[in-house]
């Protein structure tokens, strides 16, 4: 059990790729259309970057937030108390930022807000967003912290949009973007739009796409493959 715990922690705190895919799990629910994926990505990037900034500004005690999740964390009651405080503060920041994003979206793009549904508020507890708080960044400066957050956010956005592209193009035969001028926002793909692979548009299709993307990412990033393989073996 202890090794299982260590694995969990190592995956969350040491493996940015796994963290990315954990964060993507609930988000693929909104990858049926490309435009929804874009809105979702925007929300995640916003919350990531701003919370990165906020945490860096409050970096005096922010080390605590990391250690809550470190294997075999702190033992003493006072230490645990300060850790809990750091964890709560991180959660507070992300949840309020998420709420602001929701409010903004509702005001600016009500249709997008409706499309994102419950998945916009779920940004607050997204593993990627919280993982940022957990593992912390090597940069303590606000700028560096924001840059790192932006990097992760772009990774998230790229993956989500890629999945959305595949799922919408194959699963519905269309690509839905923003309507601009005469462009209605939807591109139809000639043959696929007649008989699309509808199964890819269902939740199961999203899970399959994410699974294969995670596998492909492992192939590309040997470090991730090695670390997770050894983790499994150790367990």
């Amino acid at each position: 059990m202890t090794s299982g715990k260590a694995l969990w922690n190592s995956i969350l705190s040491e493996n940015p790729l796994a963290l990315l895919f954990l964060g993507l799990c609930p988000a693929i629910a909104v990858s049926v259309r490309v435009i929804d994926a874009l809105w979702m990505s925007a929300g995640v990037i916003l919350v990531l970057v701003l919370s990165g900034l906020a945490m860096a500004l409050l970096s005096g005690e922010s080390a605590g937030a990391e250690a809550v999740f470190a294997p075999g964390g702190a033992e003493s009651a006072t230490a645990r108390g300060s850790l809990a405080a750091g964890w709560m503060r991180a959660l507070l920041i992300t949840s309020f930022l998420t709420a602001s994003f929701e409010a903004g979206l509702l005001a600016l793009a009500p249709t997008a807000s409706a499309a994102l549904g419950i998945y916009a508020p779920l940004i607050a507890v997204n593993c990627l967003v919280r993982g940022r708080g957990m593992s912390g960044f090597p940069h303590s400066s606000p700028g560096g912290s924001m840059a790192a957050a932006l990097g992760r956010g772009i990774g998230f956005a790229g993956s989500l949009v890629l999945i959305a592209l595949v799922r919408e193009a194959l699963g519905a035969g269309t690509i839905t973007l923003f309507p601009v001028g005469g462009f209605g926002g939807t591109i139809g793909i000639p043959i696929l739009v007649e008989q699309p692979v509808r199964a890819l548009g269902f939740a199961g299709g999203g899970l399959l796409c994410l699974g294969y993307l995670a596998g492909a990412a492992r192939l590309i990033s040997p470090h991730a493959a090695a670390s997770s393989a050894s983790g499994r073996a150790a367990e």
């Binding site: 799990c25 507070l92 309020f96 607050a124 899970l207 399959l208 699974g211 492909a216």
Partner: protein, 197 residues
Amino acid sequence: MSWVAIILTFALVDNVILSRLLGVEAAAFAPGGMRAAAGVGGFIAVLMAVSAVGGWAVDSQVLMPLGFTLLRTPVFVFFVAGLAFALRAICVRFLPSVLQAAGVSIPEIAVNTAALGLVLITTRGEYTALESLVAGLAAGAGYFFVTAMMMAISERLEVEPVPRALKGFPLQLITAGLIAYAFMAFDRAFLARVLGG
């Protein structure tokens, strides 16, 4: 909606994991074998049931009258987390083995997407207290059942020479995807026919 409809919807048709994709990360990544997974799944299932009722109370009795609906997200996040810690305290007191088996630190489970997502669904759907409770119980049961299936499958895969790149988490997702396809048999038309006939 009738009680049967709520139960079937939340347990099968709109299963939290398979249809809503909530709590996948906890289900797919819970380490430590079957017992641990059952511990995590059970804990989250109970948390979902409690959160659904509590969410209703907080939303309809506090947030709505005060007009603070925009604050739903942070309030629910902390509410569910608080419930998780309370539940853990109860577990530590009465069922210590469950948590020991789980092997996952409580902050992970406290802010999982399944419970929070369910609270958001029930409050947005404006369910009554009793409906929220039934929905929470059904969703929790559905979550637990699917988690158990996934874990039994992954336990089986752990001893097989599966492709290296897909071993572990990716295969868990693919497994979940295939289960989700299988559960597509229980669609809304099925629900309507069962309730109608």
